[in-house]
Amino acid sequence: MDYVQITQADRLEMLEKIGAPDVESFYANLPAEYRLQRDLCLPPARSELQLQRDLEAMAKLNNTATSQSCFLGGGAYDHFIPQVVNNMAAKGEFVTAYTPYQAEASQGSLQAFFEFQTQVTRLTDLDVSNASMYDGATAVIEGVLLALNSTGKRRVLVGETLHPDYKTVIKSYLHDLAAQYVELPATDGIISTDTITDLIDNDTAAVVIQSPNVFGQIENWTKQFEVAHSENKTMAIAVFNPIACSFLKRPGACGADIAAGEGQPLGIPFQFGGPYLGLFAARKKFMRKMPGRLIGQTADKQGRRGFCLTLQTREQHIRGAKATSNICTNQGLLAVRATIYMSAMGPRGMQNVAKQCYHKAHYLADQIIKLDGYSRAFSEAPGASGGGAFFHEFVINCPSTAQTMIDAGKKRSILPGLCCEKLGIGTANQLLIAVTEKRTVEELDALVSLLKEGK
């Protein structure tokens, strides 16, 4: 099935109108030696019924996280998705529209993006947001590039506690540029301000800190960014989790100049890692240096409020090599999803999600460390601002390998967490456990039993 509606009779009529004997004529410029003289080596065409069967069969080969007790995090979290998000975001008018270049034919997506931008600025306590980046990692590197371009400085200090994929992406991007990647080593699971003080200098373009960080620990952005700002022009980049922002201190309030994060927790399913949603917000003075699409409010001739793409002279289709970024296609439909999620959940709902994540994660951690041989990887220092507190994810030292627990979980449909060694953030005996509002106390207790018996 190729969805072509042109019949053989149409074809002949059209060729006659064009005055060409056959379709081959249109390819006359392509020398015969470059033409494929055989059929492509692909499986034969399938009917839709056959496709449905094949898709079902292939889907069954996956043992999904969402059909089990899922304690996997590491940058993608198993949150509740209200059905209204799926239904509204599946509308063909959103799914099959393109970038809203023609404002009068695209008011729906433009208004949705304008609302999205507003929501993201309020999540982050910053002034301006774009209409999305590819994912969290690319949002962070775009922030780093903005800082390099804006400050003219060359060093980038990156917290060791940043997600390893994000670190790899920053390194890959910076590799061919005149920029230096410097890692801020962690102390007991967080980045101490002394470490930043030691490594910062007047050539530092940005300090990048994730909180809650890859271990789930809450960093002290306020103090860290104070140190970042002790150097003239150095920018503070906060890598944030949007669910945490409904409960914990927000990037802007802590002094961040740029906030970049992964929007997956806002109503986006796992999908094996994508498509996800890059969130990007900044202080107003960086507005004209922002990457990606920006939607602005305007009016029609009658003074009615409307929306359009704006400040396009920043973008590649106008500016070419001098553009603020090469991004063209973004994650529009995921931004629509996130917008609907935030509208459906509301501020109290999102805070409820965050609180439940927090309390359930802490209950679970408390139960686990009561077991023989288990302990938290990082010390807890209640009361000390930021020290040792975690949000909804934590690292546990196990008496045997994390993989032993993961294998033991398979028989009980429990995914106990991620092996820190495999993720590149710790040892083979460390397990990174994430807890969302979806986990019930019975599931938490079942994981505790598994760890107790599984070692």
């Binding site: 410029n29 069954k60 509308k91 890959s172 999908q271 009016a299 009658q302 509301g346 109290r348």
Partner: protein
């Protein structure tokens, strides 16, 4: 007085705390509450509206109605390949068996996903006539960037290209804006290669420009003017003789799928836009997916992880590739998009893929032939048998001479329920029209009539057309004012 054309209220203007929202409906917390240091907490509740679920549904339904889309409208946006998005593709991408796989689950829990991805990359390699594929890039521009990184890594490798001085990238003056922007992000200088009057690469200029510092040339073929550049083999030879590589921007692959393969005409590395060629939907601007395909000698530098098939027919993710450029995004890639791509290629099969290419080109030539009398075309001529590929450009000089602008014509098309084509690119004052293969002859004929009617209207009363649109959800918007004093968030 209520204006019937008033824009919907913003969601922020609909704040109305309802007794029940799905979120507050979450099951009661079933564990004890644990104290949290108040220093860590935000000072206030998020400043977002609370809206009842019916009003949420009404709001987004109202917004959806204010969009043109392929599902509702002919959308001949040149260079964007706005083809039909089959329903089965959406169904595939929303199956729990696929959506529910966490990106870091063990390989043996994700065998269906890995099989799908492995087949997709195998098929994309075959369609390209190249050897290896990386599915990681998130979009076309991201694919360009990734490919340029791969090229750089190859030349930097003493056991590979071993020519670190090769940093210059050539691109025709008609290239997509993303080409130079991607070069800049890789720290590569980009040099513009002029085109001839006929719209092809100026070969003499190219020969002069290629030297020992040239890493690659980025080319789009068929090019952005909608023409097959038959010199492509010679272009490849010039580059290869000089030790440089040929990169294909796959934006226009819809014209040649199943008919010709880039690897067969000298391309070393290319990107696809699955959201163009393989029907994955554009979603108001994304998500796309920009897989890259390469010849074997470039494969060691591709991003990690890669999907491999093991001897026992199972699949694994492989990350230990020491020469890899690393990662260009988190996790694997735009997997939900790639699943739609798989579904589309699986449905089409080899005959279907070829028919897609040929019909896309037939539809474009038919439109061009029927429109050229009134819409002047610099490169197409039925009489001279100068044909286009899957898209064509018109510079409607006669109509513009009546006092209308290109924007006026575009906005008038909206009145007839047709999404305007790409404008002012690749040349000033042009419309770039790409019908795609999925449109019926009836739709094409209707479009031709609409364009005739618009041309008639301009000849009769240009002033009227200048105030279009009349039948859109809103009158013409002042985009200049939006940029002059930007308002990017609700107050």
């Amino acid at each position: 007085m209520i204006d019937p054309k008033a824009s919907p209220k913003l969601i922020f203007e609909q704040h109305n705390p309802a007794p029940k929202t799905p979120s507050l409906d979450l099951p009661q917390l079933d564990v004890p509450e644990i104290a949290i240091d108040s220093d860590l907490l935000a000072d206030d509740l998020l400043n977002l509206p609370e809206v009842g679920q019916l009003d949420v549904v009404r709001h987004y339904t109202a917004l959806a109605k204010r969009n043109f889309s392929v599902d509702a409208n002919f959308y001949p946006l040149g260079s964007c390949t706005m083809k039909f998005n089959p329903s089965i593709n959406e169904a595939a991408a929303s199956m729990e068996g696929f959506t529910g796989v966490h990106p870091l689950q063990d390989d043996d829990d994700a065998q269906g996903m890995l099989k799908m991805l492995h087949e997709t990359q195998t098929w994309l390699a075959e369609i390209a006539g190249l050897d290896q594929v990386s599915l990681q890039p998130a979009a076309g521009a991201h694919g360009e960037f990734t490919a340029l990184k791969v090229i750089r890594a190859y030349f930097n490798d003493p056991k590979g290209g071993n020519a670190p001085q090769r940093r210059k990238v050539l691109a025709p003056d008609t290239a997509h804006g993303t080409n130079p922007a991607s070069c800049a992000m890789c720290g590569a200088g980009v040099i513009s290669v002029p085109s001839t009057q006929d719209g092809y690469v100026d070969m003499d200029a190219l020969r002069e420009m290629v030297d020992g510092e040239t890493a690659a040339m980025m080319i789009t073929n068929p090019n952005t003017a909608g023409l097959f550049d038959g010199q492509i083999g010679e272009i490849a030879k010039i580059l290869h003789d000089a030790g440089a590589l040929l990169y294909l921007d796959g934006a226009n692959m819809n014209a040649i799928v199943g008919v010709a393969r880039p690897g067969d005409f000298g391309v070393d590395i290319m990107h696809y836009n699955t959201h163009k060629t393989f029907s994955t939907p554009h979603g108001c601007g994304g998500p796309g997916s920009g897989p890259i395909a390469v010849k074997d000698f470039l494969a060691p530098y591709l991003p990690v992880p890669q999907v491999v098939q093991n001897d026992d027919k199972t699949y694994s993710l492989k990350s230990n590739l020491p020469k890899s450029i690393g990662k260009v995004r988190s996790f694997f890639g735009q997997v939900g998009v790639l699943l739609r791509c798989w579904t589309y290629i699986a449905a089409a099969g080899p005959d279907g893929i070829r028919n897609i290419g040929e019909t896309a080109v037939l539809n474009a030539n038919y439109l061009a032939a029927c429109m050229e009398d009134r819409f002047a075309m610099p490169y197409f001529s039925k009489a001279e048998k100068k044909y286009c590929a899957h898209e064509f450009i018109t510079v409607p000089k006669d109509l513009l001479a009546k006092g209308v602008t290109l924007i006026d014509i575009a906005k008038r098309m909206i009145d007839y329920g047709i999404h305007p084509p790409t404008m002012h690119w690749p040349v000033h004052d042009c419309l770039m029209i790409e019908p795609t293969e999925t449109e019926s002859k009836a739709t094409l004929d209707h479009f031709i009539k609409v364009m005739d009617t618009i041309a008639d209207g301009i000849e009769e009363d240009a002033a009227f057309v200048k105030a279009a649109p009349y039948h859109a959800c809103i009158d013409r918007l002042d985009e200049v004012a939006a940029a002059r004093s930007p308002v990017l968030t609700a107050s």
